[in-house]
Symmetry: C2
Subunit: 336 residues, 2 copies
């Protein structure tokens, strides 16, 4: 099967670029120093590649991702790095032998973990992103509560998500240090071996965490590609077909709002200005007088945000440099 045989739109992965990204990251953050975030791709077969590169622990964002990773035999050490109230489905996963650690930032979530049969937690600390996490000076008390209820507290996590797309590396480094000072202060009160945090945007600068929670690095998107020290290659594209061309100066590809996560803006067409997306279309004009493609031509577009893009597709296709489809991977961790 070749690219030209695929029904479009189709999620396409340049396997060689993906493997180089995996190697680059595992050289810099080998083994347990990286806890790859599965939410970026929602694909157990891709997680298996990350496992092959030496990372046996994973970060996930949903109960569905915990269950699916465990079912795929990738449950050595799963961190649900998110507050969840409904953990009923986790009991069977734990009883079947998967290691499941959940993030907690309040008493109701701690009690939900106990009721869900979870044995281990990380104290989720707010390090500046206005989202989840207990205030740093409340972390110790929450750890005490956890231990009093029989939970093992493995350490802390804190996600400096508001810094990931800061363009200036020195500014990002300075602010990351401030965030991680808060996390280390909380860790001093909490104890445990784990200091978890960071992401693709701070893959170099965050030298304080014991494990980095990066996910986007493996496939990448145009938002991260704009960051100078995020040197991973664009491995993910959406294959599209040109379905209409207007001689007034634009072309229409058959992928739109249902094929691309849009929160970071429009997808990119190489050499073109994208005008807008609608449900099943992207309209674009060529730059610098380049000729428009013809109806029936296929072009590969680059998503602006990898995570919600993957969540819209049923499968991803791994291709070699000749456009041969080597593997078809179900995006099997979608939904909740």
């Amino acid at each position: 099967m070749n690219l030209c045989d695929l029904t479009t739109p189709a999620l396409v992965v340049d396997e060689a670029a993906m493997e180089r990204n995996l190697s680059t990251m595992s050289s810099h953050r080998p083994g347990a120093r990286l806890r790859p975030h599965v939410k970026a791709h929602k694909t157990t077969e891709l997680a298996r590649r990350q496992h092959t590169h030496g990372h046996r622990g994973f970060t996930v964002a949903t109960v569905r991702e915990v269950v699916g990773m465990a079912e795929a035999g990738l449950g050595d050490d799963l961190l649900l790095a998110n507050e969840v109230l409904d953990m009923r489905r986790l009991r069977a996963v734990v009883e079947d032998g998967a290691r499941v650690t959940v993030a907690v930032d309040s008493e109701p979530v701690v009690r939900a973990a106990v009721e869900g049969g979870v044995l281990e937690v990380l104290i989720d600390v707010n390090v500046g992103l206005p989202r989840c996490g207990v205030a740093p000076d409340g972390a110790g008390a929450l750890a005490d509560l956890c231990r009093s209820l029989g939970l093992d507290v493995r350490g802390v996590m804190g996600y400096e998500g508001h810094l990931m797309l800061l363009a200036d590396p020195s500014d990002r480094l300075r602010q990351t240090e401030q965030c991680m000072e808060l996390l280390l202060r909380a860790h001093a009160d909490v104890g445990g071996d784990v200091i978890s945090g960071g992401g693709t945007g701070t893959w170099i600068s965050n030298t304080w965490v014991t494990e980095l929670q990066a996910g986007s690095y493996v496939l990448m998107d145009s938002a991260y590609a704009a960051i100078p020290d995020v040197t991973f290659e664009q491995a993910l594209t959406v294959l599209t077909t040109i379905v209409s061309v207007n001689t007034a100066g634009w072309a229409v590809a058959d992928a739109g709002l249902k094929a691309f996560g849009m929160d970071h803006g429009n997808p990119t067409v190489p050499g073109a200005d994208v005008w807008f997306c609608s449900d099943e279309h992207t309209v674009f004009a060529m730059r610098d007088g380049a000729p428009l493609p013809a109806v029936g031509e296929r072009i590969q577009m680059v998503p602006a945000h990898v995570d919600p893009t993957c969540a819209l597709h049923e499968q991803m296709y791994l291709v070699d440099p000749h456009g041969v489809v080597r593997e078809t991977w179900p995006v099997d961790l979608r939904g909740w």
Copy 2:
């Protein structure tokens, strides 16, 4: 089963509001004067309700939607209102007895229709939205080409999509008239019984089409709700659980970029200002000093754009005024 039993995030439909929307539209555009657009909800069971309200013909945007609607027994008169190059899968649908009409705007698409075993077409006319459609003065020649290749030309379609969210009704009416003049001019050259176009935003103002292609009206979203003469009720929400609350003044719900189409902006939390969404979270603060919800509370959020929101969910739940889940409908027309 009740709302409180659902795993969140969950797509919830207020059945009574949906039924009122169906009745309002079918009173104004009875029977074949409405060709409901299935892309808005991608759910054959919802299409079946539209069929019950008297609409036997449907508009779809993808080959997958054609195939799924025909398989569901809703193939009396399906219009694929979109240019498609790969129509191989349509042959079996037509041979099995479904009536399939496709939009065409160029010779390659016409030839793809012939090769795909399609028998009937509409000439897709560009009426101002810079997307698909032949120029009005080229419509007659394209119809001649279709007929010379043995296709039955049923008429024309033209979508004034750029006018749907124009806030001023009189401006929208004036511009709709200009667009429809172009469509009628093309129709004079093309012939046939069908003049298809329009949408929820022009459900009253577009008096020129023989059939309206509205889809959003049945479930609605916050973008359409802001239009004064689009008087349908908000029937669709996303049920979420509050997973974290910060005493500094914000709360976090467990639905984000993977639960909401984001191209029209953030979803709405009643009585609150939404700060941002991330993959699995929406962060918001209450307005007017209202108290924050508690961890574990459930709130219903309103999507900004119905179509890409539905495409992110595996099922929708129909609820009655007491929160009892009366039906669970698979969103079975996702993908391509």
